[in-house]
Symmetry: C2
Subunit: 477 residues, 2 copies
């Protein structure tokens, strides 16, 4: 490969990742964000289930679903598993089998790839409006794209126009809340002029990463798509090296460790070891998920207002009525899963033999498509005020003791179209050299190079992917 092969289009992500200046400054972004919030009205009111329009408890086993049979339903399941501390439980879960598109449109301006992000209101958001991908489209949107009302910019994601596919992967969502749900995560590059729209803004990856350090702004759909961005590809390293080596040389601290963990080409035998671990888990773990009526779930109480756990923990199913709009007002009602407090998703990292490693844990959740997915080091639900959070192994590394440096720490919201006030604190910490981490069963250290390749094969759960989305090469400390 020669330097002539290194056109900027061959290394789209790294250059954008390092760019803190783009078509707008970050100040301009925040001003636009506040202005968008002020321009719309959005009222969310809790209502009893009986006041939900077109939603009702029906079917056998009993579930909460829409008259049309579309959107999603809230069903009951009984879960038994040989994995983990709890061998058996029952819970409501969202069934939404359709594969939607979560897509970000990108375009180069002045040699730097920009991402077209959307300001979007969702009823479950704690702050109404967050930043989402360019499009969130259902299957009926994208299979009937020439009929009726389709999301703005959807045409770029359904094969028309002069576009290049940068990312196109099926990725799962919360296996503890959704039955086998997955979405098509896409990043598309266009060379065409893109018509502007007031709810959309062009940002660099570097800017997006800075915004991710703020609480509750980048929504979950944006984060899952961003998690599919390899910090850079093998070709990027080569090209960046040959074109702007001095920029990489200036990077130090944790960012330098990220780059080195990403660029350490894994041995094929590393994958054999990881796949053998996954095989052992899939063959050894028993899990059965059986449907049950939502009014007969052990430990859960269905009233006119909610389906809630007797302990007050976990989550409740509630109903909301939404009125939204700026010019034209629309209204609808729907169920949401209400969450309490703030959960914790964290990666413990450590330098080992000169390479930064991430401690990955195996996760067995009822909604997993194939028993096991790889998750972060710790994942713990939020709890209501006054309730103690569940003790989980290794959680002590995330309470800022002397053994670790905190690398990333922000609170983000989960999908506001399905969840009401569901927030998690996302943390990446680095154990200091010499700290002897007692790795529990069901955990394995992996480099970013290994992880970035495994993500493509849909092996990492949404909690882990969220954390990878938050990693930032501009952290120069």
């Amino acid at each position: 490969m020669s330097k002539a092969d290194c056109g900027s289009s061959d290394m789209p992500f790294l250059r954008s990742e390092l760019a803190l200046e783009g078509r707008h400054t970050l100040d301009e972004f925040f001003e636009w964000y506040r202005e968008r919030l002020a321009s719309g009205t959005f009222q969310v009111r809790r209502v009893p289930f009986a006041e939900l329009d077109k939603w009702a408890f029906r079917g056998d086993p009993l579930r909460l679903s829409h008259d049309s049979g579309k959107f999603f339903s809230v069903e009951g399941v009984e879960v038994t598993t040989s994995f983990g501390a709890v061998p058996r439980w029952e819970q409501p879960i969202i069934n939404q089998p359709e594969i939607g598109i979560l897509g970000i449109l990108t375009k180069e301006f002045d040699g730097v790839l920009h991402f077209l992000m959307q300001a979007k209101m969702e009823p479950g958001n704690i702050n109404t409006l967050q930043i989402s991908p360019t499009v969130q489209a259902t299957k009926s949107n994208y299979t009937q794209v020439h009929k009726g009302n389709v999301p703005t910019y959807l045409e770029y994601f359904v094969g028309s126009g002069n576009t290049r596919i940068l990312v196109d992967q099926l990725q799962s969502e919360q296996g503890a809340r959704f039955l086998a749900k997955r979405n098509r995560n896409m990043i598309i590059e266009t060379r065409e002029d893109v018509e502007p729209h007031p709810d959309f803004i062009w940002l660099t990856l570097g800017q997006i990463k800075k915004i991710l350090a703020h609480d509750n702004i980048m929504n979950m759909d944006a984060r899952t798509v961003l998690s599919c961005v390899p910090y850079f590809t093998d070709r990027d390293i080569y090209c960046y090296d040959s074109v702007e080596r001095h920029v990489l040389e200036e990077i130090n601290g944790y960012s330098r460790k990220l780059i080195e963990s990403m660029s350490r080409q894994p041995e094929l035998t590393d994958f054999d070891r990881i796949i053998s671990w996954l095989t052992t888990l899939k063959c050894g773990v028993e899990m059965s998920v059986r449907r049950k009526p939502v009014d007969r779930l052990e430990g859960w109480r269905l009233t006119g207002d909610s389906l809630a756990h007797e302990s007050g923990r976990y989550f409740s199913v509630i109903g909301v009525e939404v009125r939204a709009g700026n010019r034209e007002v629309i209204s609808w009602s729907q169920p949401l899963l209400e969450h309490f407090g703030v959960g914790l998703c964290g990666f413990l990292t450590q330098m080992q033999d000169g390479v930064l490693q991430f401690l990955v844990s195996a996760r067995v959740e009822p909604g997993n498509r194939d028993i096991v997915e790889f998750g972060p080091t710790v994942a713990r639900s939020g709890v209501p005020d006054g309730v103690a959070p569940a003790p989980v192994p290794l959680a002590e590394y995330f309470s800022a003791g002397e053994d670790v440096e905190v690398v990333f720490d922000a609170v983000h919201s989960e999908e506001g179209g399905r969840f009401y006030h569901f927030r998690n604190r996302y943390m990446v910490v680095e154990a200091k050299p010499g700290v002897d981490v007692d790795v529990p069963d069901g955990c394995m250290w992996m480099t970013l190079a290994q992880i970035s390749r495994l993500i493509k094969f849909s092996l990492f759960n949404v909690e882990a992917r969220n954390l990878f989305a938050c990693l930032d090469l501009n952290m120069r400390t």
Copy 2:
């Protein structure tokens, strides 16, 4: 990495692949094979369903199953799909949800890895006895390993003893005949002395490949495990290069092309392109598989002797009674899926821009766990005498025209424990340079380097994997 890192244990497969001499000669193997065949008795008699001991049609929807609920059942399904030429059909299919182990024990003798292969009789084999992996174990075998009668050598595969895992992958079986069946394919290396047993023999990979050029000797279970062997790993190339470079330099012809196709490190973007293709297929293809009673399958006729298709094509469900043994005689009866004639599974290959490429096709079959798997260029069922085989795209390249060289051509049998006389002709052909292959929709060229990495993630179906198992680096032409 230094030459000192290149112990023979770090490059187990390549050295064994090139070794045509081992603890036995090939002549000794064939003598042993004939002797094993003569030493046992094995009688297989077709019987009406009513004479099957402990098997009966039962349940709703009606199926053919064992009194214990174990082993497998023959069920009916109605399939509808938006993929391919046939939008809807009904068929019997085998349901066997349990994950079994197919494992080969290996051990180094004189620096060359040897594979412990078993002579095994199965009722559906056209020639009674074929060569199988060291163990074929059901889940109840390996989870209750310390109780009762377990397969010889199983202890090496369940974590006891001084062993090293070389391969440990979940791989699918025929998606047109099994509902979501998969087995754990394992290759284990031991350093311990292994107790000899008259039904087992140590062979090198090079010898196994030579035996694979003979019809109907290596059984399907052996072939699927062997297909997980990467011809060599990145480390092997390095090590072999540094240790015995002259051997690799002597290799030429198609074997040299295989080595170069395998050692061409794929760009990460190659995987992005392949995964995007897979994503497009999984999102775009509709497939539904609904259970139906086996006596009400459209186009199929259930009599006392068989469940057969009215056209005489595809396959029939039949019953057999088996009496087997050398010292102690055991007998049992079971259903089998009888197949007619000889099917065709073939890979078309071609040198493109100096690299050997394999034409991979997307396959949508009712038993696939996730809609699509990658298959060979062509796959066509056998048909009874006098019936014309179904026309399939690109089949013309496999009838030895002027456009191709035939690289591999042998007939192999499918699993004799489930199928009666199910044989496929396995062919690898190379299109001559300049032949302009008209690639149909649903096909993509891939290098061996890409394929060997994707196999680990369970993306290739059993027909494709069988063909990879047959590729032989000792073909010096």
